[in-house]
């Protein structure tokens, strides 16, 4: 997967800023897109809908309602190319719905969105995937009764043997199949699944399925990878290895968008964080900016979570308790105290 030339071109103008950025994993020799993305995003204002220097995905006025519920209502959102963008928000914030809309699995009521300047509005999921925007699912979709290797081979694009007529002539796809198998085995080795190549995917553990799904998505040589809760239900040791893999994607020049609930993970790997609540983007900025953002704190913990009870409220609760005790007086203590507690 060659890195997008545009991604580097956009930042070549200010190479002097590169060393100042956060340190990266040492694996990328010379080529350090992580720093580029983070550097490019460094001077941006921390406000919703801010324009990115080199956006890969642009969302404009997308809304999706389910009956009376507005699941997604995003005015403007840009995703920086070659960076890792974390998408966070409380449950029901519309993160997965936004993913579904972006990848063609769901249709919005209004709005446009594009990848590399190409509108994705009328495209079905497989067309979006062919453009290089690949997703994984929150509930892992391992293809159980296919082997691990078959799962991987399914990810390869442009296969001759997938057309009905050419499938009948093995000569037209044998060579391609061999090449794809080699590439699949390389990826499986990276994800430490190579020993499982001939096992049914259904026999893998939950964490291994997450790995397989990610590896399978990479088989398609994507430009944008959208990971829906890649760490959910994965043990901490495996989380570390998954994190490493996600960072590697960025090193290879891919744009990564991921949904995650674990703030440590988000802080660790994101170049930019987008916070959603009740269908809207309520904040965006670098990871360190998010925990101080009042809108984010309110969305997660409630607007009045840190305000003490007011005097009136306290009085009311007290009065109720006293009334209860008065009513129960003469009865056994246990009941009265129970009743009081129930009142509260």
């Amino acid at each position: 997967m060659p890195a997008e030339p545009g991604a580097h071109g956009a930042h070549a103008a200010r190479p002097d800023e590169v060393p100042a950025a956060a340190p990266t994993r040492g694996s990328a020799s010379g080529r350090i897109p992580q720093r580029l993305a983070r550097t490019a995003l460094k001077d941006l204002p921390w406000e919703v809908g801010v324009a990115k220097p080199d956006p890969a995905v642009v969302v404009d006025g997308v809304t999706r309602t389910f009956g009376g519920l507005t699941a997604v209502s995003v005015d403007h959102l840009e995703i920086q190319r070659g960076g890792i963008t974390g998408l966070i928000g409380p449950n029901g914030a519309g993160k997965t719905t936004l993913f579904n809309l972006l990848t063609g699995f769901d249709r919005p009521d209004t709005g446009t969105w594009s990848f590399d300047g190409q509108s994705l509005g009328k495209m079905s999921p497989h067309q979006v995937a062919r453009l290089g925007v690949v997703r994984t699912f929150q509930l892992t979709k391992a293809l159980s009764r296919l082997t691990v290797l078959q799962n991987m081979l399914l990810g390869a694009q442009g296969q001759n043997g997938e057309s009905f007529l050419k499938a009948l002539v093995p000569g037209t796809w044998r060579r391609q199949e061999t090449a794809n198998t080699e590439r699949a085995m390389d990826l499986l080795r990276r994800f430490k699944l190579d020993a499982k190549r001939d096992d049914f995917a259904g026999t893998l553990s939950g964490g291994q399925r997450k790995l397989l799904e990610m590896a399978r998505a990479l088989m398609s040589d994507p430009k944008v990878v959208m990971l829906d809760e890649p760490m959910a239900g994965v043990n901490p040791a495996l989380t570390q290895s998954l994190l490493g893999h996600v960072k590697d994607l960025r090193e290879e020049g891919m744009t990564v968008i991921f949904v995650e609930h674990d703030m440590d993970v988000v802080r660790d790997i994101s170049d930019w964080v987008v916070v959603m609540a009740a269908g809207r983007v309520i904040a965006e900025g670098p990871p360190e900016s998010i925990s101080q953002n009042q809108a984010v704190v309110d969305a997660y913990l409630g607007a009045h979570h840190d305000a003490p009870l007011t005097v009136e409220e306290e009085d009311r609760v007290l009065a109720e308790a006293e009334a209860e005790i008065a009513r129960e007086s003469g009865g056994p203590d246990v009941i009265s105290s129970d009743g009081t507690r129930n009142q509260r």
């Binding site: 990848t103 979709k141 293809l143 159980s144 009764r145 057309s163 009905f164 009948l168 026999t203 998505a217």
Partner: protein
């Protein structure tokens, strides 16, 4: 004892007869639909009926040559598959099941209706359309031929030979397709459509292709049946046959190339064996008339097949050829 040997011999013929070919071809089609692609086609018999009537109507009513009749039958099956698939395959799997089961019954009623009588012959059906095919027989169609102690007419032998050749060819086709990347996509669709969509495959197109392919196999089965019996009648194509074909498929093992073929042979063997043996035992008094009369036998043999299927599902849920590991994955 001699009754048992006799019953085995007669059942053995049935296992290689034209009905076995008929169910084998139906089941191969269902295997493509249900076993590999995960499509629930509960109206496979409609494809068979179109196949049979395609030949019968073309030859008897329109005076076309036999070969053209075959093409008409196949084309009709393709059209039916498209009509069923285009509106339903974007929806959940249940919708195809509903559409197919309704179509199979509805189409049969249309074919036997009075207004269709000028074309389909109505309840009397059509006959005498297979001469063009029987004449090609290398054996004298009227003469009797003895093979391994069984007697076949030259015509029967010819139809049966071509029928098994068709089974062989369709099985080879399925085998080649299912080991190709095309088959991999189709099997993946059976597991999870959305995952396949997310990997850039046009799931809808694959499902349509699979529906057409299996429908064409069903039409071939109907043709073999029609040509063997020498007549077609809408009431021969009851939808119960679809479910017998499903029984054959599950017996042999779904998603296995030879599963439907062996399953159909075993199904016919068991049906015929039970039939012959029970009748013999009743006629020579081993089974008292009070318990079972020979008129009950036709039903009892299906009960026996049902019991056999239940035992199979308990002790060998994967069928005869299936992979137990694969089936057990579903049980998790």
């Amino acid at each position: 004892m001699s009754e048992i040997i006799n019953a085995i011999a007669i059942a053995g013929i049935a296992a290689f007869g034209f009905q076995a070919i008929f169910f084998a071809l139906l089941a191969i089609g269902i295997n493509v639909h249900f076993g590999y692609t995960g499509l629930l086609n509960f109206g496979q018999i409609a494809f068979a009926m179109l196949g049979g009537f395609g030949i019968a109507v073309s030859v008897s009513q329109w005076g076309l040559p036999f070969g053209v009749g075959v093409l008409v039958g196949l084309a009709a099956a393709v059209v039916l598959a498209l009509l069923l698939g285009l509106p339903t395959l974007r929806l959940r799997a249940d919708y195809l099941a509903i559409a197919t089961i309704a179509t199979a019954e509805g189409l049969r009623l249309v074919f036997r209706s009075v207004s269709a009588t000028p074309v389909t012959g109505g309840t009397r059906g059509l006959s005498a359309f297979n001469v063009g095919f029987i004449d090609l027989s290398p054996w004298d169609p009227q003469a009797r031929h003895d093979i391994l102690g069984t007697t076949w007419s030259g015509g029967e032998l010819w139809v049966t030979l071509i029928g098994w050749l068709l089974v062989l060819l369709t099985s080879l086709l399925v085998w080649q397709l299912m080991r190709s990347p095309w088959g991999r996509v189709v099997k993946a669709i059976r597991e999870d459509e959305d995952a396949v969509r997310a990997l850039g495959k046009n799931v809808y197109a694959y499902k349509i292709q699979s529906l057409v392919l299996g429908g064409v196999f069903g039409a071939l089965g109907g043709m073999v049946y029609a040509v063997s019996t020498g007549s077609v009648n809408p009431d021969q194509y009851q939808n119960a046959n679809t479910f017998l074909a499903y029984a054959a498929l599950i017996l042999g093992g779904a998603a296995r190339v030879l599963g439907p073929v062996v399953g159909a042979m075993i199904l016919l063997f068991v049906l015929q064996f039970a039939d012959t043996l029970l009748r013999a035992l009743i006629s020579n008094g081993v089974i008292p008339e009070a318990l079972l009369t020979s008129t009950d036998v036709a039903q009892i043999r299906f009960v026996l097949v049902g019991v056999g299927l239940m035992l199979l599902l308990v002790f060998r849920p994967q069928g005869i050829f299936g992979d137990r590991r694969e089936v057990m994955l579903d049980a998790r």
